[in-house]
């Protein structure tokens, strides 16, 4: 394009052909652009404007007027900083456990089970199968399994593995458990897709060169499956950090385990304090954006995004 400007005679044909194409390309892009503007950009602008609002003068509940009150941000951080830290703490822990559990599983399905295609597809179906049932129902089922008078908890107490006055629901354990459980498929599937293409001849070459199995795993398998690890951890961490179902008091959480999603929900739906809810949403988004770009940079897989 830039060079076309300098060529006076040869250019017209090529720039004409581009011009001929562009309305079609634009037309094809239009739905996508409209969608983004309507459902992403406009709400984002509205959210940002809301986050700086002040209570309307002599206003009633839920009435706010436009202003630039940046203190909304410091207010919510000082009121809810434990929830912000807790959200990321829980999400990181859940992502870690999901990775530890999913990697061997994905390795088994993607590498070990190659010789038995039927087993491979069966195992994949089993990973995806839980999606056929609403995840709300599955989380509620865990709540029942972990309840105080349940078989599991009473037997753990009978075996003195759990203190008599201890309980499981409403604790950090149950929330992290729920997050891990619910996001394991999101971790397993991307890991599977990279491990499935893993060329085992590299592993053989490694052992031919007298590397121990652990060394081969660390130097060959892990680097080759890095795209899957990065994709899986992102797909787990991002939704887990903003999740409000598992930590909700209606599901596996309690008052001591509330995450940012719950605080945002309470500010929007219960307190009608829209600026606080909006400010928290913006903080959550920016924090995730910063952490994710740092992570992607560190793991050297920018070209993935």
């Amino acid at each position: 394009m830039a060079f076309a400007a300098f060529s006076t005679t040869a250019a017209p044909s090529s720039s004409d052909s581009i011009k001929k194409k562009s309305p079609v390309a634009l037309l094809l892009l239009l739905p996508g652009i409209l969608y983004l503007v309507l459902f992403f950009l406009a709400p984002l602008v509205s959210l940002l404007l809301t986050s700086f609002k002040v209570p309307a003068e002599f206003g009633d509940i839920g009435e706010f007027s436009y202003a630039f009150r940046w203190e909304n941000y410091t207010d919510v951080i000082s009121a809810y900083w434990p929830h912000i830290l807790r959200s990321f703490g829980y999400a990181i822990t859940a992502t870690f456990f999901a990775l530890i559990i999913s990697y061997p599983l994905a390795y088994f399905i993607g590498v070990k089970a190659r010789r038995w295609p039927l087993l491979q597809s069966l195992a994949l179906v089993m990973v995806v199968a839980p999606f056929f049932i609403s995840f709300l129902l599955r989380t509620l089922a865990w709540k029942q399994i972990f309840s105080d008078e349940s078989f599991l908890v009473t037997s753990l107490k009978a075996m003195s593995l759990l203190a008599p006055d201890a309980h499981v629901t409403g604790t950090a354990f149950s929330v992290i458990f729920g997050l891990t459980y619910n996001f394991i498929p999101f971790m397993t599937l991307p890991l599977y897709t990279t491990l499935e293409r893993l060329d085992v001849r590299y592993l053989e070459a490694g052992s031919d060169l007298y590397a121990s199995p652990f060394h081969v795993f660390r130097k060959v398998t892990i680097p080759l499956s890095m795209p899957g690890i990065v994709a899986g951890t992102l797909l787990t961490f991002i939704p887990a950090a903003g999740d409000y179902i598992n930590a909700s008091r209606e599901f596996l959480g309690g008052t001591g385990t509330q995450m940012m999603g719950n605080v945002i929900e309470a500010n929007f739906l219960v307190l009608q304090n829209f600026p606080a809810g909006a400010a928290l949403s913006i903080i959550l988004m920016s924090a995730i954006l910063v952490m994710v770009s740092f992570y992607v940079k560190k793991s050297g897989t920018e070209d993935l995004l």
Partner: protein
């Protein structure tokens, strides 16, 4: 931009054209974004308070009532039909679309408030909300004025409910059902029982106590236990003393969970052994799970509330709704509903009608409270909007574990 003639040299001319179109594009983009943002800002501004007018009534041509209500709040038979609604439909030819859409006053309000503030239809012609939320809707002008002359049966309304602060003369709201918030316990796991809110804080109940996420009920009971008359003239000091107690019990792990209607699950699965609850639910829980729980209004007092029929400003079915309210104020119909939902019916004469259905239920003090029961029940005083905001925030801080 077009004022200056372009240079003669074709190469330079092409360059200038490129540069101009580039700035044009950038400028257009920026203007577009700015216009979009302004548009958003303006559209959001227009939601300010304006005099709302009721939608035109199309009841004569459109025989439909869309009714949003709470769960387990109307009679249901084993086949899943609503007998009293079916009878009304057969009698009048009006179709009723009944939806259990209200799970919590606050969240329901949050869902419909934008349409209400614009005077638009919210997808419901009548909705039953609690007194304090009715207060808010009336204050904002979101409820339609009802024609009492079309509802002669409403003369059967209990005298004590004829005049309320938020709606003198009952022109905008008509009670549906009422109830108490009190305490209950699991008789199998806690044979000794409990007598007061103080008993909930006993060491042997640590981590097994549930309370309601409805601020007025939980705080009301705690304040009553601290000797405050919640209907009377109390202020920040009394409220803060109760919030301190509440916050301490949550921080100590005495209170296991704070929930809306779903507290029932915790009682059923045994996570909570004793709880602050609503009266009618316990009767239904006992019917479904064996007679396991006992409900009392503590001697220090419990809260008393009503849920009220209201016609949202954007509904065009006011006359149909009035006909339906009139139908439900027939004592026999009221008794039929009360026999199922077990909440306090506001209809005079329902007790006599109940004698014919189930004499035992007619003696049930939770449905037909006697004077002794009513002397222990208090209505949480009306809060102005700044108080409501302040107390709600304090309460939610504890609920979210941020206090």
């Amino acid at each position: 931009m077009k004022s200056k003639p372009l240079p003669a040299d074709p190469i330079i001319r092409e360059l200038v054209r490129k540069a101009q179109s580039a700035t044009m594009n950038r400028r257009a983009l920026l203007t577009g974004a700015a216009a979009g943002a302004t548009g958003l800002a303006l559209s959001a501004c227009s939601t300010g308070p304006a005099e709302l007018t009721a939608a035109p009534d199309t009841s004569a041509t459109d025989k439909l009532v869309r009714w949003d209500n709470w769960a387990l709040y109307v009679d249901v038979d084993d086949a899943g039909n609503y007998p009293t609604i079916d009878a009304f439909e057969a009698q009048t030819g009006i179709t009723v679309e009944y939806t259990e859409a209200v799970d919590d006053n606050n969240t329901y309000y949050a869902k419909v408030k934008d349409q209400l503030s614009l005077g638009r239809d919210i997808g419901a012609d009548v909705v039953c909300l609690t007194d304090w939320m009715a207060t808010r809707l009336i204050r904002f002008g979101y409820a339609q004025k009802l024609d009492r002359s079309k509802m002669p049966n409403v003369e059967n309304l209990l005298p004590s409910l004829q005049n309320v602060d938020f709606d003198p003369g009952r022109e905008l709201s008509i009670p549906w059902q009422g109830g108490f918030a009190g305490i209950c316990w699991n008789k199998e796991l806690l044979p000794g029982g409990i007598e007061s809110v103080q008993d909930l804080w006993k060491a042997d109940l640590k981590g097994r106590v549930g309370v309601l996420s409805e601020m007025r009920d939980t705080m009301g009971l705690i304040m009553l236990a601290q000797g405050v008359d919640i209907s009377g003239d109390w202020g920040d000091d009394e409220f803060n003393a109760a919030i301190d107690e509440f916050s301490k019990q949550v921080a100590d792990g005495q209170i296991r969970n704070i929930k809306g209607n779903s507290y029932k699950e915790d009682l059923v699965n045994g996570d909570t052994v004793a709880a602050i609850v609503w009266s009618g639910d316990i009767v239904q829980l006992n019917a479904e799970n064996g007679n396991k729980w006992e409900f009392i209004v503590p001697d220090d007092g419990g809260t008393l509330w009503n849920d009220n029929f209201m016609v949202p400003i954007g509904s065009g079915a006011k006359s149909n709704v009035e006909e339906m309210i009139n139908y439900y104020y027939d004592p026999e119909v009221a008794a039929e509903v009360a026999a199922y939902v077990n909440y306090i019916t506001p209809v005079v004469g329902a007790k006599e009608a109940m004698m014919a259905i189930d004499p035992e239920l007619a003696e049930n003090k939770l449905i037909f409270p006697d004077d002794e029961m009513l002397s222990k029940a208090f209505v949480f005083r009306e809060l102005d909007s700044s108080e409501e905001q302040k107390y709600n925030t304090a309460f939610q801080s504890v609920v979210l574990g941020a206090a």
